[in-house]
Structure formats: structure tokens, C-alpha cells
């Protein structure tokens, strides 16, 4: 794992992995959504609104997986000073927040015909909204720590601690439908078994794969952008220092 901590090695891999993940992800997610809309059957109880599941569930999974990645990367940065871990955590925050927001919006659109309301303050919906606020807080903290101009290496220590502490919300989201009464259905897919029929499950799993690849591609692109920004800043700073040293000699 430490072998990938070398930015040069990371860039060699990311150069071909970024477009591959994005293109494959777009193709697979597009095919899965078309499968869900045009081929998969309507649900006996929910009718056609069940088709929203092929978008809602992958974005929910990525919102939670995104924060789990931030927590793991923050841990790696605090404990091992992994040079790429902080950059990875910063890169995950924006796509994580975007997919969490899409999950909340599609869930709300699904809730109106299914439950008769756009929103309820129950455990699952509220903890997912808290996750969106955590992402916003993390990004604001990161931006404030580096003066809002993206300067500096990795992520700030304060943001790394925030990333670790915020992970407490992930099991709360997962178990919220078990712990508290909720309009939201309990987990349909658990380790090794599924309450969903194959006609719904397969396009859903393919959509999860496609969106995960898109997420991975976006994170790689963000990491490359952050690394390039830091390298350009460092080079310009060195050049400015050299120029001022030359002036001093005169």
C-alpha cells in the first residue's frame, strides 16, 4: 500500500486509470439505467416509481462510501503521514457531497408518490442530511485551513480529525431503519442475501458498479488536479524565491 504513496507512481497509474474509469463507468451506469427504465418490470406495489431505485441506491452507497474513504484516508494521514492520503481525502469530499445531495433529492422525489410526502424527519433521512452537512463542513474547514486558495500539502490536521470523528454517522445511517420506526424500508440487500427479486436486483448491482467507477474516476481526476496545483504552486514559489535572491545579490 505504501508503494502507491509515491506521487510519481500514482500519476503513472492515474494517467490511464482516470479516463478508463470515467468512460467505463458512464457506459455501465448508462446501460444499467436504460435497463432499469425500459426493460426491468414495474413493482406490484410501487409501480413505475421503483425505477428511481437504480439511481437512488448507488448514490446513497457512494455518499456513505465517500465518507468512509475520507475517514480511512484521514487515519492513514494522521498515523503514517501518507503523502497521498490527505490529497485523496480532499478529492473525495466534493463527489461525496454531490452524490449525497442527489440521493436526498431522488429519495424525496420517490417519497412523494410512495409515502405521500416529500420529507419526514425520521432517522434515515435526517442522518443522511447530517452527512451532507458533514461534507459541507469538511470542505469549508479544508478551504479555511489553506486560506481558501488551495495552497499547502495534503489536508489540514483539523480536517483529518473532523473526517475521523464524522465517521460515527455512517453506522447511524446504516442502522437507522433498524433502530427506529421509519417510513423508509429496511435494508433490502445484506451480506450474502437479498430481499429483492432478480429482475430488480441485477440492474441495481450493475448501476452500483457503474456509478462506483464514475466516482473512482472523478476522485482520480480531482487528485490529479490537486497534485498539479500543488506542483505548480511549489514551482512558482521557488521561482519567486530565486528571483528575489538574485535581486538581493545585486
Amino acid at each position: 500500500m505504501h508503494g502507491f504513496a509515491n506521487p510519481a507512481r500514482f500519476l503513472r497509474i492515474a494517467r490511464w486509470a482516470t479516463p478508463l474509469c470515467l468512460l467505463l463507468g458512464l457506459l455501465i451506469a448508462g446501460a444499467a439505467l436504460a435497463w432499469g427504465v425500459f426493460i426491468a418490470p414495474a413493482d406490484a406495489l410501487q409501480g413505475d416509481t421503483v425505477r428511481i431505485v437504480y439511481l437512488h441506491v448507488p448514490t446513497a452507497w457512494l455518499g456513505m462510501a465517500g465518507w468512509s474513504s475520507i475517514a480511512i484516508a484521514s487515519f492513514a494521514e494522521i498515523v503514517w503521514r501518507h503523502p497521498l492520503a490527505g490529497i485523496a481525502a480532499r478529492a473525495v469530499a466534493l463527489p461525496g457531497a454531490v452524490f449525497t445531495a442527489v440521493c436526498l433529492l431522488t429519495g424525496s422525489i420517490w417519497g412523494r408518490p410512495a409515502w405521500g410526502t416529500w420529507w419526514v424527519w425520521d432517522g434515515r433521512l435526517t442522518s443522511m442530511l447530517v452527512l451532507l452537512f458533514l461534507y459541507c463542513g469538511y470542505m469549508a474547514l479544508e478551504a479555511a485551513a489553506r486560506g481558501g486558495n488551495g495552497a499547502g500539502q495534503g489536508q489540514s490536521r483539523m480536517a483529518a480529525i473532523f473526517g475521523l470523528v464524522g465517521a460515527v454517522n455512517i453506522p447511524v445511517i446504516h442502522y437507522s431503519v433498524v433502530w427506529w420506526n421509519s417510513l423508509h424500508q429496511p435494508p433490502s440487500i445484506t451480506m450474502g442475501k437479498s430481499a429483492m427479486a432478480g429482475a430488480f436486483l441485477w440492474p441495481l448491482l450493475v448501476a452500483v458498479l457503474g456509478f462506483s467507477l464514475i466516482f473512482g474516476g472523478v476522485v482520480l481526476a480531482r487528485m490529479r488536479a490537486i497534485l498539479a496545483d500543488e506542483q505548480a504552486e511549489a514551482r512558482l514559489r521557488r521561482k519567486a524565491l530565486r528571483a528575489s535572491a538574485d535581486e538581493g545579490e545585486w
Binding site: 458512464l26 427504465v37 428511481i52 474516476g217 472523478v218 498539479a228
Partner: protein, 46 residues
């Protein structure tokens, strides 16, 4: 009083938001990466 829904309107709205935002995110992240790498290359050359 009962409400009747055209379920497809909700499906289309969800897909328009989800698809649009995802495509926008992919395009923005790719373009910002290319811009940052061009800036780094310019700094390297000058």
C-alpha cells in the same frame, strides 16, 4: 379527496436531476484536471 400521480413524471424528474448532475460532475472534474495540469506544465516550462 385522493391524489392521482403520473408516476413517470417522478421517474423522469429523478433521472434528469441524477443524470444531469453526474454528467456535470464528470465534465467539471475532467476539465479542471486538464486546466490544472496545463498550468503545471506552463510553470515547468517558464
Amino acid at each position: 379527496m385522493t391524489e392521482t400521480f403520473d408516476q413517470w413524471q417522478f421517474v423522469i424528474a429523478a433521472y434528469a436531476i441524477g443524470g444531469g448532475v453526474t454528467l456535470g460532475l464528470v465534465a467539471w472534474s475532467w476539465l479542471s484536471m486538464r486546466r490544472a495540469e496545463r498550468r503545471r506544465d506552463r510553470a515547468r516550462e517558464s
